[in-house]
């Protein structure tokens, strides 16, 4: 295994494009090292992107949007008061990944590129309409987060392409986001179902919403029907029931060691309601901490 630590994304992309065999980018390493250790994937080329300038930065842009360096670990997101105030759902989703120790390393970008349908941060990023800058041998492009994963362990990134930054839109007024997942223990598990909601209010009425689900299909789902179920409502019981039904209806899960089809389908609806209530309260200006914040 060849180890490289380039000093620019252009150089990283070039290394990846020219490398033979299996190439992996190393950010937090919490997936790459596990796969290496277990002989699941031993890359021929490992490109550590943490020495590239800017990869550790959290930047609030002039228009209120955010740019996140690709090597910022979850713990640093959680410690950034401004980011937590704007996008508590994105931060709490990332902070649910693994342990305190894992939070010291694991990154949003890594969680995304690992391609796990159960990745906690991905539904929250999708609900937040986040985008990624992708640097390749031929330059840069900007891609919606939901277009990156294409199936378990697979992404739409071409050979030589690497995510070089993540972007969150400006938060704007009267809006809130939230993420919850179901796991059997209180910590340390992979999501059996995950759900994120991002919404905006006009008075008490929801005017915009995005609802996404994790671990219920081969990739993260952006569920338009679920958003439609609550847009125009005040999140009354009937709207919540419609939301739950739409979320459950969107599920295309599998039976596996972590959960059954019936369980995932049912709990997706339960979570959607709970998450929507939190997002709604946040949009109203309430401070609601993550489940163990």
């Amino acid at each position: 295994m060849q180890y490289h630590s380039p000093e620019s994304f252009a150089q990283a992309a070039r290394l990846a494009a020219e490398a033979e065999g299996v190439t992996r980018f190393l950010a937090g390493g919490t997936d790459v090292l596990v796969q290496l250790r277990a002989d699941i994937v031993t890359p021929d080329t490992l490109i550590d992107i943490k020495k590239i300038p800017g990869t550790h930065d959290i930047t609030r842009n002039g228009d209120g949007s955010w740019t996140l360096g690709v090597a910022v670990p979850g713990a640093e997101l959680g410690e950034h008061a401004g980011l937590v105030a704007d996008w508590p759902g994105v931060v709490e989703a990332m902070n649910l990944v693994g342990s305190t120790q894992v939070q010291g390393r694991a990154t949003l970008t890594g969680n995304l590129c690992n391609g796990s349908p159960a990745a906690d941060s991905v539904p929250a990023m999708v609900a937040a309409s986040m985008t990624a800058t992708v640097t390749g041998p031929d330059g840069e492009r900007v891609v919606a987060v939901e277009d990156i994963p294409t199936g378990p362990g697979r992404t739409s990134l071409a050979r030589g392409e690497v995510i070089s930054a993540l972007h969150i839109p400006a938060r704007g007024e009267n809006a809130g986001d939230a993420y919850l997942r179901f796991i059997p223990r209180s910590e340390m598990d992979i999501a059996v179902v995950g759900c994120a909601v991002n919404l905006r209010l006009d008075g008490d009425t929801i005017t915009e919403a995005r609802v996404s689900l994790g671990a219920v299909a081969p990739t993260v789902l952006l569920v338009g029907d679920a958003a439609a179920a609550i847009i125009g409502s005040t999140l009354d019981d009937a709207a919540l029931d419609r939301l739950a039904a739409a979320a459950s209806a969107a599920c295309k899960p599998i039976d596996d060691k972590r959960g059954t089809i019936a369980f995932r389908t049912e709990v997706a609806g339960v979570l959607a309601k709970r998450v929507a209530r939190i997002a709604y309260a946040r949009a109203k200006g309430e401070i609601i901490k993550g489940h163990h914040g």
Partner: protein
């Protein structure tokens, strides 16, 4: 396969080693520097027995490559005591019998120390969630949580 030369700092001391890029920081600490306090319980970041600090940040050393330690500051259980004076957590763990077999203890001490440095007055729930990545199979965590809470109280009073 060529090895890579790494210069780093462990518990304040400058050290160097040569490692295969596949070797973890845990492998390097244990096998190259003979610092066997950090333990490998799982190798997948699920048990926390290999906890160390990397530039002050709590991490699993099994999820860090040895080559990534270049130029970093690493803290291990061997560096917690000041000479022959135990850190208050270490003393309290002995006093409270907060260990049975002791294999998870180094990782828990490193993690608990990192917690108290960031939050000197944690609630029981905060301690439990902070330590959720440190598995202990012997104690049921009861005495561990009490020891950490009581150390925090002592340290606040003496601070």
């Amino acid at each position: 396969m060529s090895k890579i030369h790494v210069s780093t700092t462990v518990n304040g001391d400058a050290v160097e080693y040569l490692c295969d890029p596949r070797e973890t920081l845990l492998d390097c600490l244990r096998d190259k520097l003979s610092l066997t306090g950090a333990k490998e319980g799982c190798g997948t970041g699920d048990c926390g027995a290999c906890s160390v600090t990397l530039d002050g940040r709590l991490v699993c050393s099994c999820l860090v490559l040895g080559v990534e330690a270049e130029g970093k500051e690493i803290g291990t259980v061997e560096g917690i005591a000041e000479g022959d004076v135990l850190h208050p957590l270490q003393q309290k763990f002995i006093d409270y019998a907060a260990l049975q077999c002791g294999i998870c203890t180094p990782g828990i001490l490193v993690a608990a120390k990192a917690l108290l440095e960031q939050n000197p007055d944690p609630t029981e729930e905060e301690v439990r969630f902070w330590l959720a990545g440190n598995l202990c199979r012997c104690t049921g965590y009861d005495k561990i949580i009490r020891a950490v809470m009581d150390t925090a109280r002592d340290m606040r009073e003496t601070a």
